[in-house]
């Protein structure tokens, strides 16, 4: 029941003094990506993240620090090259030891749980967790097409929309995917549905960033950001 009350309160807009989850004008880790999301022995996955920042556009960034939470026997699979963090999937023997530590069945993919930190202003850091799956291969989802007002704008970097109008937004993913539409310009409606819409009121910021983040059930993630202006 408490969940219901909170959801109702959020839906009814009774939370004006906290930022909604679609607000990009906010310091936060939006998503952490491993590319590819699942790797077999010998493959390498690169880790990066999308960071939201108050008063600024979001950026893609590497973790400042990273460490393996579990399984500890695979701690050495996480390495740093320059500013980039990468995971190299180990051989079958190491994976078998990891399965033993985690109590997994033979041949089950091994979740490598990595904790990482990201720097923010005033010496503040934010932490995030990401699982990189070892023992099978999977790519991140492909975010295309992205429809804005019914037009595929996947390749665009800047968008212009009309204020005081419901601007339809759509990506073609079913409900097994988690879709988040984010903005720092206007109000996002149905931000966590594949079909959403944006409305920019007169009192809203008339420019900012519009973004969409998609997660699949295999740990894959993809995002795209646009500069947006209402006029």
């Amino acid at each position: 029941m408490r969940v219901l009350v909170v959801v109702l309160a959020l839906a009814a807009g009774c939370t004006e003094d906290v930022d909604p989850a679609w607000q990009l004008d906010h310091d936060r880790v939006i998503a952490i990506r491993a590319t590819p999301s699942r790797i077999v022995s010998g493959e390498v996955a690169q880790i990066d993240a999308l960071l939201g920042r108050a008063g600024e556009a979001p950026i893609e960034a590497d973790p400042m620090t990273a460490m393996v939470v579990e399984p500890t026997v695979l701690a050495s699979t996480l390495t740093r090259q320059g500013t980039r963090w990468r995971v190299t999937a180990p051989g079958p023997t190491e994976l078998a030891a990891a399965r033993s530590e985690l109590g997994l069945e033979a041949d089950a993919p091994v979740p490598l749980r990595v904790r990482m930190t990201f720097p923010y202003a005033n010496n503040v850091t934010k932490t995030g967790l990401k699982v990189i799956w070892l023992g099978e291969h999977a790519e991140n989802p492909v975010l295309s097409p992205i429809f804005v007002e019914g037009v595929d704008r996947t390749m665009a970097t800047m968008l212009t929309v009309a204020p005081l109008t419901d601007v339809p937004l759509e990506v073609e993913f079913d409900e097994t995917y988690v879709v988040n539409w984010l903005t720092s310009c206007g109000t996002m409606h149905d931000f966590d549905l594949a079909r959403s819409y944006l409305r920019v009121e007169v009192e809203d910021d008339q420019s900012g960033t519009l973004g969409v983040v998609v997660r699949d059930e295999l740990g894959g993630v993809a995002w795209q950001m646009f500069s947006i202006t209402a006029e």
């Binding site: 839906a11 009814a12 939370t15 906290v18 952490i32 904790r115 967790l129 988040n180 149905d190 549905l193």
Partner: protein, 701 residues
Amino acid sequence: MIDNLGRPIRKVTVSVEGTFDDVVTDKDGTFEIVAPMGATLIVSSDRHGVSLATVDGPELPDIVLLIDLASEEIIVSSEAPIVAPGAAVLDREQLNRIPGTGGDIVRALTAMPGVVNTQLPLGYSGVVIRGASPQDSKVLIDDFEIPILFHPFGFRAVVPTESIKSLSFIPGGFDVAYGRSSSGIVKLETRAGSENRSTQAEFSMIDSGVVAQGPIGEKTRYMFALRRSFIDFFLPLFIPDTVDLSLTTVPQYWDGQLRVDHEVNSKWSVMASSVGTTDLFELFTTQDEDSKAKRFYSRTRFLRLTAGAKYHDGPWQANLALSGMISDLDAQIGLYQRLKVVTELVTPRVTVTRSEEKAFGLKDVVWSSGAEAQIGHSTTELAIPLERREGEPFPPYDPKDTSSRFKGSVWFPDFAAWSSVAASFDKRFRVTTGVRADMFARSGEVRIQPRSELQIKITPAWTARFNGGFYSRPPEFQSENLQKDLNAERSQQLMMGLEYAPFLGLRIQGSTYYTYRTSLITHNADNTLGNNGRGESKGFELLAMGTNGTWFGFLGYSYSNSSRIDGPGAMPRLFDYDQPHSLNAALSWKKGHWQIGGRFNLYSGLPSTPVIGAEFDSDRNLHIPTPGAINSDRAPMHHQLDVRIDYTWKWGPTVLLVFLDVQNVYLNDSIVTYFYSYDYTQKSAFESLPLVPSLGVRGTL
């Protein structure tokens, strides 16, 4: 002034409409008053309600008053026996004079000292007593348990006021005839139909209903009530189009009661009753109703059928009853989470009582024994997050979390037997002692629970009571009964009370209590359940009620402290519903057509656990909070004033009543609790409800 049997009625107030003059009938039912020809006389009494008469000469013909259905069979609280220190039998008419209930007698429970007070009822049953957990107390209708006391959101009890004969509130120290509760008991008794056939209809902004009752022949009476919510017709009108919300089924409920009583002969009477409700709720947190991921659905239904027989012959008295209940809970959240529980219960119950004026050198000896079985079977299908136990931090909302899964059915047969004896040693000392044995067969646990009370009549007006005993609650809350090795939660209660009742209509009682709780059910490290917790509650309660017919006053205050330790090495913490202070003061004036009253509430806010940090889990797309010390925060004190105005008049053969009950008239918006933003970096307050009006019309034919 006479009743329907031609007997004079004394103490009926008669006034001339439009004036402030009134007189009262004498023992012969007569009165004298100065009034112009053609004037309207307003005739009112507590028992007979309000009637009108026209002055058509110097001497009026007999005015016949019928018993007011709204006040018939009322138990006058100042005369009702108290069963334990701090307990009270709630008088329906007096509680109707307590504002802030929206016309629902059961919601007046929040005014009782010892009941955790909030604007809307709390917990799954709606009643939290002496700072314990909601599941530690039981709600009974006609001596049998019901799963919920309030419809969702707490605006209405599942039984309408007009179907209730009496309501007993026992915050602790109840006798051996009752069990399966480690805290307190709320007992509702449905009313038998009246001797006169009548139909009553009520309409309000929240619901509408009808009550029909009367005789069938000379020895049978019936009462039938049916009610449906109205709020689902109004609520969508208040939701702006811009909100991402689609209420396909706004909170909607039906409830109904049927009771038939038959007097077989001078020794035997039988009754059959049914109580049932259906609550339905469905919404989408989007305007797109095809989006199953944004769907919240809940349906709760239960039906309880009871058949009983009473025998009374000289010193012997027996109650035999057989009750069955089926309940059905179906809840779905989004695409993945689901909870469906269908429970069937059969409960036979028998009590035998023998009373002797004198026995073994003692006076007024009452021996009572009884037994009951509760055979339960539950079919459960669940795919939900790990259930939160009392005190545990609220987890982040993860619509894909189905870490608790179960599909199957369980039997949980429970048996109980008890015996007690009460006797007076002289005019001042009376002792009641007894023992109850509960067997919870699923775990094989047997609990022997002795209980005793000493009552000392210090003077005719002053009575002292000392009470102590052992109590237990079987593991049946949430998914407790899915785990076979769980034992009952236990409590040991000690109470002391002092009552002052100098005359009929005034009673003041104070009591103090200490409850020690053991075997409290908590999560183990592996997320299974164990009996690892212990805790204690202590406090003081004061209740004063007085009436002289025109005026009614009520004062309730409680101080309480409830804390617990969840396992070896754990730090002590407050219970979730610890409420140190609760004050309720009500005053009501009733005369002629009018009744006007006000009630002031002042009570502590409830504890909460602060969040001191959070970590982002990218794959689950949520932030995992880091909790601070459990229940170390507390919402501020809340105060509000509630007002109720009733106007009664007669329209043809129909007595009409209009009431306006307004909660929080000065719009105090104090904080109820806090919640956090999705990433726990911002904190916001849930404020108390603003002005809550309730307007209703009741007609009795």
